[in-house]
Amino acid sequence: MPAPKAQPKPKSFQDLILTLQAYWAEQGCAILQPYDMEVGAGTLHPGTVLRALGPKNWRAAYVQPSRRPKDARYGENPNRLGHYYQFQVILKPNPANLQDLYLTSLYKIGIDPMVHDIRFVEDDWENPTVGAWGLGWEVWCDGMEVSQYTYFQQVGGLDVFPVSGELTYGLERLAMYVFGVDNVYDLPFNDPDSAVPLTYGDVFLENERQQSAFNFEHSDVEMLKRWFADCESQSNALRDAGKPLPAYDYALKASHTFNLIDARGAISPTERQAYIARVRDLARGAAAQWAEQEEARAS
């Protein structure tokens, strides 16, 4: 591949997102909107986890807000957030030139390959909750991890046929790098020259503070435990009814509810393992049923 030229730097956080969206749309991806549920990672959007299963081809890209209650830091840590964005791309099957496509996406957002050191460092991704794993890399730019790049091998505990290529960009971190900013809240959210220039902090700082207080101080653990049980039985009932899509939604709800309980440090390590196993059973069960149905619909 001839060494490509880097494009000019995007003007803002949202410009970077728009650039990635436009680029992956050009590659034939459906640009999905964020899933309307609380999830801990972009992978959990059904557009990745469920679509990676079954024989049908699929290409999609989307921004997914991710909530990780435990990582919340009251807006005081310049690098850590309880709520942040991932940009997710899935191409099924992976095209032979996926690495080149990915590298071009970096050039598009202004990373000059003649000046920056981009490396593929072994990192095999796995998410036991949804029974998924794959081989791939962390992609480093000047020593910083800017993406996770994975060839899915299993999802929902099942081998996938065909294999999908999955890319996850940590948007805030990538943007901080591109803009040379040391504090996430200083990122220009929109064009700094616009009529109302907004930083990431203008948009999210207060949210981080209040959500952190909720995560660590105000959540009602007993209520959350009840919710968890309810989500679990609803998910199981939906699966019994042969409806894996809503069953998966309720698995996601259970998962986030567990994350909230966990953030309070309210459960022992043994209990914690048991909760994780329960979420895993829900997610895997829904995924397996979805895979079965997709297979049947395709034949």
Partner: protein, 828 residues
């Protein structure tokens, strides 16, 4: 002669897998060629992040023709047999086969097969796809549009190209839709797009030139090492050498360029271990020291994969920013940890499992503290310090920093202990009690560290033995061999004098200190050898013990237990005044209390525990349990001792001690590692001397005749209580020499008897003083009387009593020698 080039080009291969894959590919291709009858002059290989390459020179263009005869069935065999033969040999008619005659077998068919040589290109075209399909990677994957079913091609990452050229021409083949060709590509950024090559010379020249790919690991490693040396020399720095990291970064860049980056010097107040580890594990940077002070310098070295247009300015900046973020995290942990007292961290250990069956880390620490305190006294360490160090030894495992960097366990504990004003030897012991971590790791010398290091490892070993999780074959997930080797080295280097069996027994008991059975067992222990204790008393104690166990789970237990223990205490405090009657009375009181308590129980419970029946059954059961427990201890101790013996043998062999001498000393069944080593050393030195040769010779003479003689009936002799010899007894063993009979015998016999009793006395003192050379010198003086005895005395006398007495005499000679070593195991 032909020249073959193979390159398998794929997406980034994990650095740790490249070297082995390179070797495996070279071997597989070489074997395939040789297997097809294709010899060659040389085979060279290369590997890197994106490619594995093999170059074979001096190949023939085709393999030689081979003529082969294949024997077939007899003439006149059934049609099926003939048909099978024809098919196998590739013949169409039996007329094409020759008929041979054999005098025994008669006439049979022979097919004359001319196997024409195969073109090397054909062999390669067949071999390479098979090698690729069967290639073993530690982890492999499927990819792309072909990955729609099971059984398709797997590789470490997606395969992109296969270049295969023999003498300039493509060797055509196809691996799951990927056709071989003569194209490769260079570096992602600096290299130019796909280009064709004609052979190795062209390939390596183009790649290393315009392609910007340093092909071999050696070339890349050299460039990196030289780059680091240059950068350091210019900046007045020295490189903290790290061969493992060097190897790793060699596998992370095709065109390695060394870049020096700056670290914010404010971070230098962090422990240097934290900084270097963060650099190494997270970022794969080399740390550098200030050349003059030798201290960690606020810089780092990163190996980039590009020759950046700006000379690496942005790369250095970017990496420095990432490092700052990492070190900010580390500082946060450091400050937070320092604000938490170590004792508080130590308390948290009781909530963390060491190993499920072995309790929490808190339990382990308590056991270690107890043992370390005890061991400390044997090596002139302050017991108090050993206890303190043990109590804090694992506290840092719950620190934020060790949570982030598990490799810093102990190291951080030492810093935190020093911050908290603990004595230096306590702090050092916290760091060093994990040592030695391997055969080349240093053994701590400070006695407090030694005591804690020994106790920690012994507790782990005994624990894993107790739950029967011993290493098997190559499986040793808990590194128990390493721990045992550590114990051996610690014992030898500290010179600690201790029966290992006793330590193991103690460790085992403390492992079960809180369990019911052992509580009772330990309570009973003072009475095992109590002279007043008759069977009845013992049974009463068992009885009481059973009730104590039973009532542990009832509200009555606490009160009863106290009474139970107070009686026991009273007894052990004034041992001389033990009065069996008092004991019985005391027990009687307890038992009746217990029985009374039973009356208060619910009907349902009482039905289940009929006191009379229960007493009887439980007593028997408890006795059985105690016997079993005792047996378990003995088995465990012996088994673990022999595990240690194997490690000690390894150490002694590494020191160049003779294998047979080690066995000869081990056969004595001693379990003091220092003493065993001294014996082996003394034996080795002594056997090289004239006296040593004499000693061995006289032993062999005495043993030979004993081995040849038929063991005698024990008639007319008294059994000897202890022969003192663990070796095969042979004739004469178990007999006692009859001095009166000796007096009637020839003078040589009398002389030997006299010499033996002199020597027997003469070796007592040196043996006691562990002067084994001295003892052996005394024993060697038996050579002359033994020789004279064999010259002048007929051992196999007609009179069985005389014969028995002479064999007993020789047996005594041997038994005395066995006080030093089992000479029967010594070769030569």
């Amino acid at each position: 002669m032909a020249d073959l080039l193979l390159e398998i080009f794929c997406e980034e291969i994990p650095a740790r897998m490249q070297a082995k894959a390179e070797a495996d590919l070279g071997k597989a291709l070489g074997d395939a060629l040789k297997g097809a009858g294709l010899g060659f002059d040389a085979l060279e290989t290369a590997s890197g992040p994106r490619r594995l390459s093999v170059h074979v020179t001096g190949l023939p263009v085709k393999s030689a023709d081979v003529a082969e005869e294949r024997k077939g069935p007899k003439v006149g065999s059934p049609e099926q047999a003939i048909a099978g033969f024809l098919k196998g040999a590739g013949l169409t008619s039996i007329d094409q086969a020759e008929v041979r005659s054999d005098p025994k077998k008669g006439d049979f068919y022979v097919a004359m097969l001319d196997r024409p040589g195969r073109l090397t290109a054909d062999v390669v075209a067949e071999a390479v796809p098979a090698i690729i399909r069967g290639f073993h990677w530690p982890k492999s994957m499927r990819w792309g549009p072909n990955s729609t079913s099971e059984g398709e091609l797997r590789w470490v990452r997606p395969l992109q190209r296969i270049l295969c050229v023999l003498d300039g021409a493509i060797v055509p083949f196809d691996v799951d839709g990927l056709a071989s060709g003569n194209e490769t590509e260079g570096h992602r950024v600096h290299g130019r797009g796909p280009f064709t090559v004609t052979g190795w010379a062209d390939y390596s020249k183009q790649l290393e030139g315009e392609g910007h790919v340093r092909l071999t690991r050696d070339a890349r490693r050299d460039v990196i090492a030289k780059g680091i040396a240059d950068v350091c020399a210019k900046a007045g720095l020295t490189w903290v050498e790290d061969a493992g990291l060097l190897e790793e970064v060699t596998g992370l860049a095709e065109w390695p360029v060394v870049v020096l980056g700056d670290m914010d010097p404010d971070f230098l107040d962090l422990p240097p271990e934290v900084i270097t580890l963060s650099m190494r594990t997270h970022q794969k940077y080399f740390a550098v020291n200030d050349a003059r002070s030798g201290k960690l310098a606020p810089h780092f070295i990163v190996v980039a994969n590009i020759d950046a247009a700006d000379g690496g300015v942005k790369i250095a900046e970017g990496n420095a920013r990432v490092l700052s973020a990492r070190l900010s995290d580390a500082r946060f942990f450091w400050e937070k940890d320092k604000a938490t007292p170590l004792d508080e961290m130590a308390k948290k250990l009781s909530t963390i499992a060491f190993k499920e069956e072995l309790g929490s880390l808190g339990d382990k620490v308590e056991r270690v503290a107890e043992m370390a305190e005890w061991l400390a006294e044997k090596i002139d360490a302050q017991a108090k310090l050993a206890r303190r160090a043990s109590e804090l030894s694992k506290a840092d495992l719950v620190s934020e920093m060790v949570g982030e960097f598990p490799e810093l366990q102990g190291v951080m504990g030492r810093y935190y202990a020093l911050e908290a004003g603990e004595p230096e030897s306590v702090a050092d012991a916290i760091r060093d009690h994990y040592k030695p971590q391997g055969p080349s790791d240093a053994v701590p010398t400070d006695p407090v560290s030694v005591a804690v290091a020994l106790a920690d490892k012994l507790d782990t070993l005994v624990g894993f033995w107790a739950i029967d999780e011993k290493p098997t074959g190559s499986k040793d997930p808990f590194a128990l061999r390493r721990a045992a080797l550590g114990v051996v080295r610690l014992a030898l280097e500290s010179g600690i004098r201790q029966s290992l069996g006793q330590v193991i027994r103690g460790a085992y008991l403390s492992l079960y200190k809180n369990s019911d059975i052992f509580e009772v067992g330990l309570n009973l222990e003072p009475f095992y050898d109590e002279p007043h204790m008759d069977g009845r008393v013992f049974d009463e104690w068992l009885h009481a013990g059973v009730w104590a166990i039973f009532f542990k789970y009832s509200p009555e237990y606490a009160a009863v237990r106290e009474e139970f223990l107070s009686i026991r205490e009273g007894v052990s405090c004034s041992e001389e005044q033990i009065n069996a009657v008092e004991i019985v009375e005391g027990i009687g009181r307890i038992v009746s209390r217990l029985d009374l308590a039973l009356m208060d129980m619910s009907d349902e419970a009482r039905k289940q525990f009929d006191p009379v029946q229960l007493n009887k059954i439980q007593t028997e059961q408890l006795r059985a349990v105690l016997v079993e427990a005792d047996y378990a201890i003995v088995t465990l101790v012996n088994d673990l001792l022999s595990f240690f013996a194997d490690r000690l043998k390894q150490v002694l062999r590494d020191q160049g001690q003779r294998h047979d001498l080690i066995d000869a000393v081990f056969a004595l069944g001693e379990d003091d590692l220092v003493l065993i080593t001294r014996r082996v050393e003394a034996l080795g030195a002594f056997l090289d001397t004239e006296d040593g040769k004499d000693l061995l010779a006289l032993y062999k003479r005495a043993s030979n005749i004993l081995a040849k003689s038929v063991p005698l009936p024990s008639q007319g002799t008294r059994p000897q209580k202890d022969s003192g010899s663990p070796a095969k007894a042979g004739a004469g063993a178990g007999l006692v020499v009859d001095a009166d009979l000796i007096k009637k015998g020839p003078k040589e016999e009398q002389a030997l008897y006299a010499a033996l009793s002199n020597v027997g006395e003469a070796i007592v003192a040196p043996l006691k003083a562990e002067d084994f050379a001295g003892a052996m010198a005394e024993l060697a003086r038996l050579r002359a009387p033994v020789d004279a005895f064999f010259e002048g005395v007929m051992v196999n006398d007609d009179d069985p009593a005389v014969r028995a007495n002479r064999l007993a005499l020789l047996s005594d000679v041997r038994a005395n020698l066995h006080k030093v070593a089992d000479f029967s195991l010594i070769e030569g």
